[in-house]
């Protein structure tokens, strides 16, 4: 009985054996393809270098943008409105109005600056201190600084609040010093879109470079492919090591790109921190985090495999023994 079972095993494959055989074929293709790549180091390192540079460009642009956004993200929090009161309004009336505004549900915080306070600040910071003393009266208005609720990031709601404030009879005008911030945000949006487009183009380039390298590899091993076909190799079997070559190209290029990006950020760390200090913030420069690193590696490996697959899909079918 035992003998019979064993005999069957050698002639016919059961389901478990088939799965084992399948796993074995994959493992074998994965490592034999890496071995083959390493055996031609010049071709391999050149292709990896080209792919790695393309991935570095893509990842670098992304990270640059992420760092700039980190800077402006902190600016966004300070979208306050200054309302200038009419000249006839007294300090007491001004304070009363400020208290009223503080209970407005759209308002987060209120700061009343009387004309005297404003004058003192102006003397202190403007350098015209002595000249101010020569003035007979105080030409500055009373000001209320309004900080809207955080939820008011929506543009239309924000505008509504501004016009509401302007309609109060005591108010001369309201001023939002946000135009430059808006322009900056628009520019960042443009840069954001540009990075998406640029990275798509780079992704396409990676697919083509990997595909072309695999095509050349297939040409070099044409004879082997034909003989494998003659002894009963399926398309899957023939394709597998090449797909894994694509994987290795992408993966190792991705790893090199990660190293290169990290070195670049390391070099830029000091100037970046100096810049962030000018914004009264001490921001830490951002490196690729774990999630982004995984996305980088998976994407680059995937693009390498995709390039290989596109080429192989047609070419292997066209290779016929005769």
């Amino acid at each position: 009985m035992k003998y019979k079972a064993k005999r069957k095993h050698s002639l016919q494959m059961g389901f478990g054996d088939q799965i084992k055989a399948y796993g074995r074929l994959h493992a074998q293709a994965l490592f034999s393809s890496l071995g083959r790549l390493i055996r031609s180091p010049v071709t391999f390192s050149m292709t990896v270098a080209v792919l790695g540079l393309a991935i570095t460009l893509a990842g670098g642009f992304y990270l640059l943008l992420a760092n700039i956004q980190q800077l402006t993200g902190n600016l966004e929090a300070s979208n306050q409105i200054s309302i200038f009161l009419k000249p006839g309004i007294t300090v007491d009336n001004g304070r009363k109005l400020a208290d009223e505004l503080a209970s407005n549900p759209k308002v987060n915080n209120i700061l009343f600056i009387s004309k005297q306070q404003a004058m003192e600040e102006f003397k202190l910071y403007s350098g015209f201190g002595d000249a101010m003393d020569a003035l007979t009266g105080n030409p500055l208005p009373n000001v209320i600084q309004v900080l809207p609720k955080d939820a008011l990031t929506d543009d239309t709601l924000f505008k509504e609040l501004v016009s509401e404030l302007e309609q109060i009879p005591e108010v001369d005008f309201a001023r939002v010093d946000m135009e430059w911030l808006k322009r900056l945000q628009a520019m960042i949006q443009l840069a954001d879109r540009s990075v998406v487009i640029l990275n798509s183009i780079l992704a396409l380039a990676i697919v083509f470079i990997a595909g072309n390298t695999i095509r050349l590899e297939l040409q070099n091993r044409k004879e082997e492919v034909l003989i494998a076909k003659l002894v009963g190799a399926t398309h899957g079997f023939i394709q597998r090591p090449f797909i894994y070559s694509g994987f290795w190209y992408g993966f190792i290029a991705g790893l090199s790109a990660w190293v290169l990006i990290t070195v670049i950020v390391l070099l830029l760390q000091h100037p970046f921190e100096q810049l962030s200090e000018l914004y009264d913030e001490r921001l830490n420069v951002r490196y690729l985090n774990l999630k982004e690193t995984l996305v980088l590696l998976i994407t680059s490996s995937g693009l390498g495999m995709l390039g290989a697959w596109i080429v192989l899909h047609r070419q292997i079918q066209q290779l016929r023994p005769d």
């Binding site: 399948y22 074929l25 074998q28 082997e224 003989i227 494998a228 002894v231 190799a233 079997f237 016929r320």
Partner: protein, 218 residues
């Protein structure tokens, strides 16, 4: 084992390569296929191996209609066949072991199974101990025996040989034929295309004679 039923093969803008060919091979038969060059010997073998499709007629191999199978099924038909070529078709940059192992690797066998069967196969063709050699270092006769070892390593139901002795001298050719006879004795069906008339006459086997794509005897 193999049935040809009124098979025609026509290439575009050419005469019929095969015309109304019908014959039958029983299991364990060893048959020669002969004829002038261009008579259609290679075409006939290619049809069996699924390298070409016939224009008309039916080819049944091991109960399977070869001209009705899909592209995906072809590899599995080839695993039941052992193919031998005039130019051996060995991978020169691979060892003898790797060359013979290829059909087993392709089918997903484990390493121990492969090693055992490759050794048994090389032993049968008298090449024990040459596993780590490269084909280029072997003589023509030895290279063809590597080709034969590769063809039989997967225990095929049928061996197709296209001018297997075409590049060998008569003495080596006789040795190769001896090998084929041994495989026949253990039940393998063998079809050998050859135009070596002297050799065929010596063997006293059934002969299929092709002339301009038509079968004369059989």
């Amino acid at each position: 084992m193999l049935v040809f039923d009124r098979v025609f093969k026509r290439y575009p803008d050419a005469e019929d390569a095969l015309s109304d060919v019908s014959f039958q091979l029983e299991q364990g038969e060893m048959v020669f296929l002969t004829g002038h060059s261009g008579a259609g010997k290679s075409t006939l073998l290619k049809l069996i191996a699924g390298m070409e499709k016939c224009t008309r007629g039916q080819i049944i191999f091991d109960g399977q209609n070869i001209n009705r199978i899909t592209e995906k099924q072809i590899p599995f038909v080839r695993r039941k066949l052992g193919l031998i070529f005039q130019d051996y078709k060995l991978l020169q940059e691979r060892t003898v072991f790797d060359n013979v192992a290829l059909p087993l690797v392709v089918a997903g066998n484990g390493y121990h199974e492969i090693a055992r069967r490759v050794r048994a196969s090389l032993d049968k063709v008298g090449l024990s101990g040459k596993e780590t050699k490269y084909p280029i270092t072997l003589s023509g006769g030895e290279q063809q025996r590597v080709g034969i070892a590769r063809a039989v390593v997967n225990k095929p139901k049928m061996i197709l040989a296209d001018e297997p002795t075409g590049n060998l001298d008569p003495e080596l050719s006789a040795e190769i034929m001896d090998l084929f006879s041994q495989f026949q004795q253990v039940g393998v069906t063998i079809l050998i295309a050859s135009h070596d008339k002297a050799l065929i006459d010596k063997m006293h086997n059934r002969v299929l004679h092709l002339d301009h794509g038509r079968l004369l005897q059989g």
